[in-house]
């Protein structure tokens, strides 16, 4: 019995009138945890009851504490009939379970009812007394901290980054149980809310256990999602990155200890390997990922329909179902990417051991898949190590192969959900890797079907057998396949890790598309081993020979299987300049996985870089950027025939490659149009609906100084003899050129001119361009014959040979730049802006539009979809016009297709104001970009000494403030005037602290302000404490839609309610902000005929305490001095 949960119900206010006769309410409260329920007395005839209950005590074990939510129900007492429920509050007590977070939950919570929304508020106090449990075999994982933030949280230092953790839990969806037919919508909604709450608790506990197994103490970049699979159930799954974090305040104490080892490590590798360059080859082009997207998964999947992503196939070869949609051929990068693939596929066809699942269906997809598998091996075999230095080809190869094999056998994946890293962590970035697979859901609960599946391979049957007994296994297997695929793609890019990794699903009826994507990268092993310093002696011993092969028993990822390899990496890392090193290609130049054209890095001129770089991560702080960034989106619709089950899945998987291809083409074109050469934060979402697929890719374009200047876009007409046509073409060309010029001005892209000879790269021959003709008849063999050597071309060529192409070009030009004073990006920070002012406005906008064409075509749909997105953006700019100059950061679009012809787009983002004048100055010195981050963490600079002594991780901002705060909190009794004067100098923090606390404490005063942001930081403020994760799931339903203001009124109110409940929980934890806030799900369904609607929303984020920097400024700039005393005080904090 390791824990005691104590709950006190203080009061209620603004309760609804439950008794029409008296216009009053006789309210009482039920407090339930697990199977125990307590009740307060009835407080008669009041809308503002004062219960002031005793402490209700629940004695529970900590497993239960982690899984169960505290459930508080407010009811109206009725002598003669059943008591009416007014509403509920679910409180996740997880934040109370680890020491550094909140110690008490106390405050006003909105009383929520799934039918009526918020109905008054209730004041509750919750505490937990935890007894230490030394039981090694315990099932709980209390004490493991969770963070949604996808970087090392400020005020912590990563001692070790262990790697990927994942888990999923499956259950039946109460909404689909038989009992749902006889119970009320309210009961059903509540059952669902409760179940999901339970499941997420369980999931979190299980993930926590895995983290403990890995000897970590925290999960960073925790992302939990729900798959509402309908009849087949409800899946709650989560991924994250296990870390060992250390509170920064403690660093001073243990710095000396870690110092020496880390130095050692740095040096040793350096000495050992004289050839640091082994790994230093180039970058990937974006398309590349697709190239690799083949799916092994398919072979295991039960249905034939599984497929993958790869765009890589050139569309030409594919007999596309709809009549081939033709692509503009973008130009070299695309082509070049594709071609290798194709070639290989030819090669492989003969040799591939895996057979296409449907033999009848020799689609390119299938080909590709089989191919890609081999391809990967090929790549591995080809020896990525043979870089410019070119030595050690042989041994390296074998090593790699070994590694590949061992990695395949390994259960864990070298994935990181982080998108921002400590400086130096990221050595090279290969490019985006992604994988998708289409699955059928209905079979899960329908074993009878298994036998009928005609074309199912035996694998699948095997796979199926397990489903009955253990459903999660099935889902696990699905994801495992995808992850394998991702892993192999990364390997093909010469990378051992995937960063910025995420997973998602799109479900329509019984079809589900699973997607995963990330950025292939080479990481600095130093950060992965640091853990040893922590004092696991055995580990250190075991390392000695291999140095880098960290015990896999621990579940850590084996990044650098062999010491030479890794040491060489280290060497590189030391050698390459921080501003461009990550751009240098990790793969072998002579044996590239795809033809790309490489040049010497424009920054250091030593290593090769690709012409374009796509990634899913945030822009590294140290990256050297020219000008500003901007949000770039590719949008795409594809019609699909309505079909059942397998036929449906098949047609979807056939469409996927085309979609991915086009999305990439669009991205590439739009990137060029803006005169930029890299994408960060790339997120491609493919959504499946009844009769169409939609693709939406968002990313932030930037100009990386290390990469070559992008060539322009050149338009080529197909019928050169037609005079007017020529004219038209030249007119368009002019428009495009003008747009590029305008964009360069707008985004301040003026890279310094470099003399050509220094670059020494293949010199572009601008005249040369190869034309690709689209034709359906071409077979894949023919394709390989195409001249794919555009590697040397400088301009992107857009071929216009029909009206579609024309429209594509037009649509390129329809993207309107944001109005002046606005910038936008989907990453954490806007490249090129570094002087944020504290005003922020987080918002969610949702639109559902009817695509009302009678005979929709892909073109009209595309246009509609494009307009929808553009109008939405326009609308956002207009709404936020009073904040100018400002930047929309972390713009996150989510597309859903709730029913036929309906498209739903949800956007969450934050608008942040900045100081224009300062911005101008800053632009003059773009290299100081890293300061950007520093705006949030002044002390980064201050902490330089720490950083130098060992560990860049320690540069994670700051620490002292919090401790000081804690200390100061005891002074709260000091009168305000005195505070203002005397404390100001002594400890300005105290004042800030007091200011923040005083607001929430007074019940009569106005409600305390809680900021919300999808970013991991607050501009102009320091996060001093993480209070725990907020993960909330709500359902709202109405049977009086018109009366509530129609669909818009209904959803508007619901979103506002969700915000309110998040804020209330944060405030009750003692926090004043939510960072890394994300709306993971917004499922809206309506039935206007019945006047009904239902909506489910799932949000999460990190509750934090922040202090304004202006209140910190007086702090003496002596970090070292400050750190020590506070470090000592650190233990006092509980």
């Amino acid at each position: 019995m390791p824990g005691k949960l104590k709950v006190k119900i203080v009061a209620g206010r603004h309760l609804p009138v439950m008794d029409r006769a008296s216009d009053l309410t006789d309210a009482f409260v039920e407090v339930k945890f697990g199977n125990t329920t307590f009740k307060t007395d009835v407080y008669p005839k009041s809308l503002n009851p004062q219960w002031n209950s005793e402490w209700f005590k629940f004695e529970v074990d900590d497993e239960e504490l982690q899984d169960e939510p505290l459930q508080i129900t407010v009811l109206d007492h009725d002598t003669y009939s059943a008591n009416d429920a007014i509403g509920k509050v679910y409180i996740d007590i997880d934040p109370l379970l680890y020491s550094e977070a909140a110690t008490v939950i106390s405050g006003w919570f909105p009383i929520y009812d799934t039918i009526h929304g918020i109905r008054g508020e209730i004041n509750v106090v919750v505490k937990v007394d935890l007894f230490n449990d030394l039981n090694r075999f315990r099932q709980s994982s209390c004490g493991v901290k969770f963070f949604c933030t996808t970087s090392i949280p400020k005020c912590y230092r990563a001692v070790v980054i262990h790697g990927f953790v994942e888990e999923l839990v499956v259950n039946e969806d109460p909404e689909y149980q038989w009992i749902d037919r006889i119970r009320t919508p309210r009961a059903s909604n509540e059952a669902r809310q409760r179940l999901i709450s339970l499941m997420s608790g369980e999931l979190q506990r299980k993930i926590g256990l895995k983290v403990l197994e890995m000897r970590g103490n925290a999960v960073v970049g925790y992302l939990q999602c729900f798959d509402l699979e309908g009849e087949s159930g409800l899946v709650v799954r989560a991924i994250g990155t296990a870390c060992t974090l250390d509170k920064l305040s403690n660093t001073s104490a243990f710095l000396p200890a870690c110092n020496s080892p880390s130095k050692e490590m740095k040096e040793i590798p350096f000495n050992e390997d004289p050839n640091p360059n082994t790994y230093s080859s180039g970058p990937s082009t974006p398309l590349k990922n697709q190239t690799y997207s083949f799916s092994p998964s398919k072979s295991y999947s039960r249905q034939s329909s599984s497929s993958d992503t790869d765009l890589s196939l050139t569309p030409k070869t594919a007999p596309s179902p709809q009549g081939p949609r033709i692509f503009l051929f973008p130009s070299s990068p695309t082509l070049s990417c594709d071609s290798p693939h194709l070639k290989k596929s030819c090669l492989l066809l003969s040799g591939s051991s895996i057979k296409p699942l449907h033999s009848s269906h020799v689609s390119p997809v299938v080909l590709r898949k089989s191919v890609s598998f081999t391809e990967e091996l090929l790549l591995a075999a080809s020896g990525m190590g043979s870089g410019s230095a070119g030595k050690e080809g042989g041994p390296f190869k074998t090593l790699l192969r070994q590694q590949t094999q061992s990695a395949l056998e390994q259960r864990e994946f070298p994935f990181f959900t982080l998108t921002t890293f400590p400086p130096g962590f990221l050595v090279h970035v290969g490019g985006v890797v992604s994988a998708r697979s289409v699955k059928l859901l209905d079979r899960i609960h329908n074993p009878a079907f298994v036998g009928i599946m005609g074309n199912t391979r035996s694998y699948k049957l095997l796979d199926w057998n397990s489903f009955n007994s253990d459903e999660p296994e099935t889902r696990d297997a699905w994801w495992a396949e995808i992850r394998q695929e991702i892993k192999s793609h990364a390997k093909a890019l010469g990378c051992h890790a995937v960063v910025g990794y995420s997973e998602s699903t799109s479900i329509c009826e019984e079809v589900c598309i699973l997607s995963a994507s990330g950025t292939a990268a080479v990481l600095n092993p130093r950060f992965l081993q640091d853990g040893t310093m922590e004092g696991c002696l055995e580990q250190r011993l075991s390392w000695q020979p291999g140095f880098f092969s960290i015990g896999s028993e621990k579940g850590e990822v084996d990044f650098f299987p062999q010491s030479q390899d890794s040491s060489s990496l280290l060497g590189i890392e030391e050698a390459s300049p921080p501003g461009c090193g990550f751009c240098h290609i990790p793969y072998d130049e002579l044996n590239m996985p795809f033809p790309a054209h490489l040049t010497y890095c424009y920054n250091c001129r030593k290593q090769k870089v690709p012409d374009v770089l796509f990634t899913t991560i945030d822009l590294p702080v140290e990256a050297i950027v020219v000008g500003k960034g901007c949000l770039i989106q590719a949008r795409l619709c594809r019609l699909k025939k309505k079909a059942q089950a397998e036929a449906n899945a098949t047609s979807i998987s056939n469409l996927l490659p085309f979609m991915e291809y086009e999305v990439h083409t669009q991205l590439m074109n739009k990137l060029k149009l803006r005169g930029m050469n890299a994408l960060f934060g790339l997120r491609i979402q493919i959504t499946v609906g009844e009769n169409m697929l939609m693709g939406l890719a968002s990313a932030t374009g930037v100009y990386l100084a290390a990469l070559p200047t992008p060539g322009g876009i050149q338009i080529a007409g197909k019928t050169p003899n037609d005079g007017t046509y020529e004219q038209h073409i030249s007119h368009m060309q002019k428009k495009i050129n003008d747009t590029i010029a305008k964009n360069k001005e707008l985004y301040e892209i003026n890279p310094p001119e470099l003399p050509e000879e220094i670059i020494g790269s293949p010199i572009p021959e601008p005249r040369q361009r190869s034309r690709l003709l689209r034709s359906q008849s071409e077979s894949s063999d023919e394709v390989t014959e195409l001249d794919l050597s555009h590697g040397k071309k400088d301009a992107f060529v857009l071929e216009i040979d029909d009206t579609d192409a024309m429209e594509d070009v037009h649509s390129l030009l329809t993207d309107v730049p944001p109005p002046s004073g606005f910038y936008s990006c989907n990453t954490e920070i806007m490249p090129g802006i570094n002087n944020w002012t504290p005003e922020i406005q987080m918002f969610t906008a949702v639109r559902v539009s009817r695509l009302s064409n009678i005979n929709p075509t892909n073109q009209t749909l595309n246009k509609n979809f494009n307009d929808l997105c553009e109008n939405l953006l326009k609308s956002l700019y207009f709404k936020l016009r009073s904040m100018v100059p400002c930047c929309l950061c972390h713009v996150n679009f989510t597309v859903a297709l709730p029913e036929d012809e309906l498209v739903q787009i949800a956007v969450t983002a934050v608008a942040i104001t900045y100081d224009k004048n300062q911005a101008l100055q800053a632009n003059k010195a773009p290299t100081e970009k890293s300061q950007q981050r520093a705006s949030t963490d002044n002390e980064e600079q201050l902490q330089f000494p720490l950083e130098l002594c060992s560990d860049p991780l320690s540069s994670q901002p700051f620490s002292p403030a919090k401790e000081v705060l804690e200390g100061a909190s005891s002074h709260t009794g000091i009168p305000a005037a005195q505070r203002a004067t005397s404390l100001e100098k002594a400890s300005p923090l105290a004042e800030g602290y007091l200011r923040h606390r005083s607001v929430p404490s007074g019940t009569n005063s106005t409600v305390s302000v809680v900021k919300m942001t999808p970013l991991s930081f607050l501009p102009g403020a320091k996060i001093t404490k993480y209070l725990g994760i907020i993960n909330m799931f709500f359902i709202r339903e109405t049977t009086s839609l018109r009366e509530e203001g129609g669909v818009s009124g209904f959803l508007h109110a619901f979103i506002a309610e969700v915000f309110a409940m998040v804020r209330a929980h944060v405030a009750a934890l003692g926090g004043n902000a939510v960072v890394s806030y994300i709306m993971k799900q917004c499922v809206f369904m309506e039935n206007p005929n019945k006047n009904q609607a239902q909506c489910l929303i799932n949000v999460s984020g990190d509750a934090v305490v922040f202090v304004r920097e202006s209140e910190l400024e007086v702090l003496p700039p002596q970090p070292a001095a400050a750190a020590q005393p506070t470090g000592a005080a650190g233990d006092v904090t509980t």
Binding site: E121, V846, H1052
Partner: protein, 328 residues
């Protein structure tokens, strides 16, 4: 492609003052959009009509949801649903409870009943205030009236506390409540020239001097009601008018006191009851003030008049009112 559903929700609730104004004035979304267009917003912000419509609808929805809370402003401060900075909250409340004086003037002294509400159409036509706005303002009056009807203590302070209004606005509401409660007839033709401000000032004087609270702050009666005892007592003062003797004596006393001090002495005698004559005779406010002073003080010297304190209390308010009313 039409947007069926289109919402924008900020963590900090966006309040557009212009749209709020339009909403308060009772314009429909379409009308509001039209007016915003006329304001040149489109050109200034380089946006589209669709964007403007969507924006206007968002604001209107927000205001509709806020309206419930605006009915009890302290709830607006405590509620958790909308995060609105305090100064914005104050602005919302203040604008919501601000009223058109023309409308208030029309309704002054009328019973705030359903019947009156039905007549709002005419009032709207007369005053040029939109009918929806009229109804909202009427409801505001009624809501404030109901809320303070039974409360003790100074009316204006009660209103200020319950509705978080700025002091001046609270005083105006106090006046409205006072008139609604005591049903002074303000609609008479002779009073037409008086504005709402005049009446509000009068109401304040009357409350200040005549109400229970003016005498004993802890009194049981609300300020809006004039104490019955006082009204009873006033009957005693009738002697000053009804008793011809006293009236004449009073008159002569005043006249003698004022002789030489007032430029329009000749007409003085005729002016004992009403303001109109004063106006037509072009009295200066100074003259009137002087007259009233003496008029108030004079009975002290009247033999057999025992109600001087009462008289002075009465006259304090009357004087203030008369002075206020005596304007051009």
């Amino acid at each position: 492609m039409s947007s069926d559903l289109d919402v924008f929700v900020g963590n900090t609730t966006l309040i557009d003052e212009e749209v709020y104004r339009l909403w308060l004035d009772g314009h429909s979304v379409a009308e509001a959009v039209a007016r915003r267009l006329r304001g040149g917003l489109l050109e200034r912000e380089a946006t589209s009509v669709a964007v403007l419509q969507s924006d206007t609808r968002d604001h209107y929805r927000t205001f509709q949801m806020l309206e419930r809370l605006l009915h009890a402003p302290p709830r607006l401060l405590q509620q958790l649903l909308f995060q609105i900075p305090p100064e914005r909250q104050a602005l919302l409340v203040q604008r919501y409870y601000a009223f058109d004086e023309a409308l208030a003037r029309e309704l002054l002294g009328k019973k705030l009943s359903k019947g009156t509400k039905k007549e709002l159409d005419e009032v709207s036509a007369r005053t040029g205030v939109g009918i929806r706005s009229c109804r909202r303002q009427f409801d505001n009056f009624k809501r404030v009236f109901k809320a303070v009807e039974e409360l003790r203590g100074p009316l204006a302070e009660n209103i200020q506390q319950l509705f978080l209004l700025p002091p001046s606005l609270a005083r105006d509401y106090a006046a409205i409540v006072f008139f609604a409660n005591s049903r002074f007839e303000t609609g008479k033709r002779r009073l037409q020239f008086l504005s709402f401000g005049d009446f509000a000032a009068c109401a304040q004087s009357m409350m200040a001097h005549w109400s229970q609270g003016a005498l004993a702050p802890e009194a049981a009666e609300p300020d809006g009601d004039l104490p019955k005892s006082f009204l009873q007592d006033l009957k005693e003062l009738k002697v000053l008018v009804t008793d011809k003797d006293l009236l004449d004596q009073h008159k002569s006393l005043v006249c003698s006191a004022l002789r030489g001090k007032i430029s329009v002495y000749n007409e003085l005698e005729a002016n004992f009851k009403v303001i109109e004559p004063c106006r037509s005779d072009k009295w200066s406010p100074g003259d009137l003030r002087l007259f009233l002073q003496h008029y108030t003080a004079a009975p002290r010297n009247l033999p057999g008049f025992r109600h001087q304190a009462l008289w002075e209390r009465y006259m304090a308010a009357i004087s203030a009112c008369l002075l206020r009313m005596f304007h051009d």
